[in-house]
Every structure is written in structure tokens, then in C-alpha cells.
């Protein structure tokens, strides 16, 4: 069975899971305060950032600090619990398909849902920016190329975090621990990005990337900038380790 087919089967399994409305609701709620407080963006000009850039970056900072990582924890719960309910995992492992492939197919779905949420947030950004432009008689809408140039690195930076969350969901059988560790690991990321060891903490990557972009766009604000070394080697090592662990432990309890 090809990997693409396995991924498509995984998508069929979550078709009626209501995960997309949950991700959409989170994206909508994110932009409501930005829209209501759009006039405040003009005050930030004193810091050397244009109102339209501030509107965009504040919304995405709100997304990266809690909403996006927490939604991904919810997605991992969905992916693993659909198999654990009614002994689905046992049935899946009885098929002549490698467990490694099955684990990676589920991770691919997690990556896809992460991309969907970021794109939804981008889509709602355009709607709210258009509404704010109408309300303030000032264009808050940024060119799509600028938006994609920012959300692309943000998505890439989230991959190690997603691998870590997937490893938690697979390796820790008690859901309260995997959920608890996943959610509580998000909270310190706001502190970790201010330390020199931020690259060792994958949950802080998306927030670090968007914060450094905020610093780049703001003339009077100095934030730490992304340094590819040691970040890329550390991120690659974390991703590989987490994926190897999740592939090894996938369905291990059921195989005993």
C-alpha cells in the first residue's frame, strides 16, 4: 500500500471528527480583538512599525504563542484516540502494513492539519484586514507574497514541535499525561524565547520566528534574530529523534 493511499485513508478516518470547525473557530476568535482594536495599530507607529504590519504581526503572534500549539495538541489527541477507541489500533496492526508507515501517515495528517490551520488564519486575516480597512479608512491589507513569506517559515519552524507532540501522544499511553505535558509545555515558551537556549525547546520555535519578524519590521524594537546555526541542526535532531521514538513506540502496547 502506497504512503499516499495510507494518508488518504487517515483523512477519511477523521472526516466526521469536527476538527476543522474547531480549528476554524480558533482562527476566527484570534482576529476578533484585532478587528475591534484596529485603531490602536496607529499608535504603534511611534515604535517604527506601520499599522498594517502591526495588525498582521500582532495577530500571528497571538496565534503562535498559544492557539496554534494548543490546537495541535488537540489534533494529536484526535489522531491517537480514533485508533484507541474500539481497539482500532489492534485492527490496524493486524494489516500487512508496517507500523512505521502507519505512524508516519498519521504524522503527515498532523502536518496537513497544521498547514490548514495556518492557511485558515491567513484567510481570516484577509477578511479582518479588509473589514478593518473599511472601518478605519486605511488599507491594512498586505500583499499575499509578504504574508506567505512570513507564514512559510512559521510553518517550517513548527515541524519539530509537531514531531514532539506526536511523540508524546504515541509514547505516553495515559492521555491525561500526554495532553497535560503537551499543553503545559506551551506556557513557558514565552520565557524560553528570551534565553540563549531557545533552540533546544521546539515549542518556542514558531513564537520565536514571529517575534524576530516583529523586531525586523519595527525600527525602534530590538528582538533576537533567527540564527540558522545552531537552530537548524538542533531542530533537525529533535525532529528525527521524536519521529524515530514515535515510530518505534507506535502500537507497542497493543503488540505485547
Amino acid at each position: 500500500m502506497s504512503f499516499a493511499l495510507l494518508v488518504s485513508i487517515e483523512f477519511k478516518k477523521i472526516k466526521h471528527s469536527k476538527i476543522l470547525p474547531i480549528l476554524l473557530a480558533a482562527a476566527v476568535i484570534l482576529w476578533v480583538p484585532s478587528l475591534l482594536n484596529s485603531h490602536l495599530n496607529f499608535e504603534m507607529q511611534a515604535e517604527g512599525i506601520s499599522p498594517e504590519h502591526n495588525f498582521f504581526i500582532q495577530g500571528f503572534m497571538g496565534m503562535c504563542w498559544f492557539m496554534f500549539p494548543a490546537s495541535m495538541v488537540v489534533v494529536t489527541v484526535l489522531l491517537i484516540q480514533t485508533e484507541r477507541a474500539n481497539r482500532g489500533m489492534l485492527k490496524m496492526l493486524s494489516l500487512p502494513i508496517s507500523a512505521v508507515k502507519l505512524s508516519l501517515a498519521k504524522f503527515a495528517v498532523l502536518l496537513a492539519l497544521a498547514a490548514i490551520q495556518i492557511l485558515m488564519t491567513g484567510g481570516i486575516y484577509y477578511l479582518s484586514a479588509a473589514a478593518a480597512s473599511e472601518a478605519e479608512h486605511y488599507s491594512f491589507v498586505l500583499p499575499p507574497l509578504f504574508v506567505f513569506k512570513n507564514i512559510g517559515p512559521l510553518y517550517a519552524a513548527a515541524i519539530p514541535m509537531l514531531a514532539f507532540f506526536w511523540m508524546l501522544a504515541v509514547c505516553i499511553r495515559a492521555p491525561i499525561f500526554s495532553i497535560g505535558i503537551g499543553l503545559s509545555s506551551i506556557v513557558p515558551s514565552v520565557l524560553v524565547i528570551n534565553t540563549k537556549a531557545w533552540f533546544a525547546y521546539p515549542m518556542s520555535y514558531p513564537f520565536f520566528v514571529i517575534t524576530s519578524e516583529y523586531g525586523r519590521l519595527t525600527a525602534n524594537l530590538d528582538t533576537a534574530q533567527v540564527e540558522l546555526v545552531p537552530w537548524i541542526p538542533a531542530a533537525a535532531a529533535i525532529t528525527i529523534l521524536c519521529l524515530v521514538a514515535s515510530c518505534l513506540f507506535f502500537g507497542q502496547a497493543e503488540r505485547r
Binding site: I19, I22, A26, G62, A70, I176, F177, I179, G180, P188
Partner: protein, 240 residues
Amino acid sequence: MILFEEYKKVKRLGFFPALFTGSLLTAAIPIINMAFRGQLYLDQQASPIQILLAANWQMMAMLNLLLTLSGSCILYHAEYADNAMEKLKTLPLRESSVFLGKAVLMVCSMTAVFAVEAAAIAFCSCFWFEAGDGFAKELCESFGYSLFLTLPCMVLSLLISQACRNMWVSLGIGVICVFTATLLPANSFVLSLFPFAIPFQILPAAGASGAVRYLCAAAAGFAIFILAEPVLRNIRRSFE
């Protein structure tokens, strides 16, 4: 009796070790903050508890909310997994007693969590500051107040978990609620009454008159959610 039954059910779910670990993690926040950035707070003119809560409570309350959320999801996940809820309905038990049992269990567990956090604040106060007269009373008042404000959130989390058969839906709704609470402006009294936002309030910041208003709001929220449970259960049944 109900509480004992609920305790027996959750004994093997990892509920208590998870809450205990979570409470240790939350309790570590003020200790780590003082260890690394203590100089920032030592010169401030206020009582040690006020200084420590002002510096750390936002993050501690956030972790408490996440603990409440994941705990309530697990309590109902255990009932819905393998259709235990259906079997429960065939027993000569009032359905509301199941909810009340879980609510009491949650409140008792979170009281223990708050006690661990209070111990951490007491440790920081004694180690880095000088705990004066009336310290124990102030500590009990502050944490009693915070626990009371968390009650509506606990009951609402349980209501959401009861309403959703799938854990990811209840967890997703809870996460959205916590996220919404972080977006609400702190200076608006009405918006800060949102059940997931009210636990971010601290006693010293609220002031004497403000504290009473928040306590009344929390009591009203708690009562409304408890009374809403049978109504929501009946609505849910009509859709099954």
C-alpha cells in the same frame, strides 16, 4: 459515597499523579522566577504574597486552567470510552449524581493543587522575603479567593466534557475558551467575568470592594452551571 465511587474510577487513569505533577510544575514557577530574577522583586514595596502573585500568577493561573481542562476531559473520557456511560445509565443511579461526584472530585483535587502552590509561595516568602505578622492569614485568603474564582471554570469544563462524546472536541472547545480568556482586556470588569478569565484575578489586585464583586460573580457562575447540568443533559438526550 459518590465521591468514593468516582475516586475508585479515576484511580488508574493517572488523574491524581498528573494533577500532582502539574501542581509541582506550577509551584516551581515562583521559585524559578525568584532564583533567576529575584533582584527585580526584592526592592518592591508591598507584602511578599502580593509581589509574588503579581509576578507569577498569570502563568500559574494559566497552568491551573490547563490542568482543570485536561482533568475534566479525562474524567468524562473514562465514561465515554467503551460505552461505560451507557452501562452507567442502566444502574439505579441518578445521572446528576455522576456529574456532582465528578465536580466534588475536581474541586477536592484542585484544592490540593492550590495547597501545593500556596506552599511554594510560602517558601519563596520565607526564603527571599521576611514573612511578617498575619502572613498565614493573608496566604490562606489569597489562595482561598483564587480557588473560589476557579470554581465556575471547573464546573463549566466538566459541562463541556459531559456534552461532548469525543475527548478532542471537549479539549478543543476548552482550548478555545482558554485562548479567548487570554485575549480579553484585563481592565474590563464584565469581560473578566468570563469563567475562563476570572481565575486570572488575584486578591490584592482586586481590592476590597472588587474582591466581593468577583466572589459574587464566581458564586453566581458556579450555581448557574450546576443548575444548567440537568437541563443540558436533557437537551443532549433529545439529540441522541
